[in-house]
Subunit: 206 residues, 2 copies
DNA sequence: TTTCGGGCATACACGTTGTATGTTGGCTGA
DNA sequence: TCAGCCAACATACAACGTGTATGCCCGAAA
């Protein structure tokens, strides 16, 4: 079974078509409002193909969420490495800029609906946590740990701090996207987020 | 149609029974995993009664979430007024204690599953926001506005700040409840939350 | 007492999910 | 090269769950 045969390409193509169709529909109208019939129609296959590639509808959703989350993670490390080239900035500024980059990435519509809204309800917190852990949360925690180790922010338990900051960013992105005036919402939440981070620098709590 | 007749009592009783049964089941296994047949069996009525009192299953969920959220709001104002009796504390300490009280209230299992996990996915953000606004978020915003007005915390846009803090508290409660060691998780997140708030006091920026 | 409507039970129609079964086309070994 | 075999689908079916239409009953008002 050569992995690069034409047949293998077809297999990967149908799977990709399913993922793409499901992603577009899930992002547009939500998990429960989209039936499998609609998905396979858009992907120009049949339900048989769907249930051949995925155990059930939730399993398809998990795969979709994985790709969406991986996309975000990719954008993050991309910006991160790009910024590392001009690496005159210290850990503090790296973290500060990273948070804002994070916020920008979370503004993606697909990401919000699939990962932030439907994800927890569809997958349950265990599976959801596992996906978030490897796509983004781990990165944020690394930044924070480094910042704490170098004394750039106050000594706080890194694990809960990372979770809380991630939730902050997520909520900020939702607030912006749903605002009637996204421009000022972006400015205000960005500023507030930055101010929260600034407040974590050492020497504040007497 | 006297509102206090025996018949009216029966009507209210069946409605309450439906709310109670739905709440228990939704909290235990989530919205989609629970069918209406199971709900009415537990409430010892029929599906006819359910669809007489509520437009559809989502409408029943909305009513359940409203009661759960109202419960939390009730506990909050209760603690708040109790603390106001001994009101030597200033606005700052009131806010600080209020946040911790908030956190404690969010630890309720029913609240987490129904309001925080299923709520956004089932109701959509518009209906969800409306419910959260009147049960808790409004209160938090009032505290913050007062704290800002009196110069207890730095001048930040109150509206997004309230949203962000609410998300922070919600995530903290989920983190604690799902932790293998809730005691230390509670201590750590409580401390982190308090530290974030402390960082918002004036005189930290530049 | 009769009637009238709210409150609820029953029955049905519909869509949706998951599974079981059938079919096809390419790889593979003799 | 060809027989057979299996992955990759397509099709058909069974089970379930929701929402609605219909019917019944009882309390209240006239």
């Amino acid at each position: 079974m050569p992995a690069d045969s034409r047949r293998a390409e077809h297999v990967a193509d149908t799977r990709d078509a399913l993922l793409e169709a499901a992603r577009a529909l899930f992002a547009e109208r939500g998990y429960t409002a989209v039936g499998t019939a609609e998905i396979v129609t858009r992907a120009r296959v049949t339900r048989g193909a769907l249930y051949h590639h995925f155990r059930d509808k939730a399993d398809l959703f998990r795969a979709v969420m994985r790709t969406v989350a991986a996309e975000l993670a990719g954008r993050l490390v991309e910006e991160q490495t790009a910024r590392a080239e001009e690496s005159t900035a210290g850990v503090w500024d790296q973290l500060r800029n990273g948070i804002q980059t994070y916020l920008g990435a979370c503004l993606d519509g697909d990401f919000q609906r699939i990962v932030l809204v439907d994800g927890p309800a569809v997958l349950g917190h265990a599976a959801w946590d596992a996906l978030v852990e490897e796509h983004g949360l781990g990165l944020l925690r690394d930044w924070l740990r480094q910042a704490v180790d170098e004394g750039q922010i106050d000594a706080l338990p890194v694990d809960p701090l990372a979770r809380l900051l991630a939730a902050l960013i997520a909520e900020a992105s939702l607030y912006i996207a749903r605002s009637t005036d996204p421009a000022t919402a972006r400015e205000e939440t960005g500023r507030t987020l930055d101010r929260v981070l600034l407040g974590l620098r050492p020497g504040v709590g007497e």
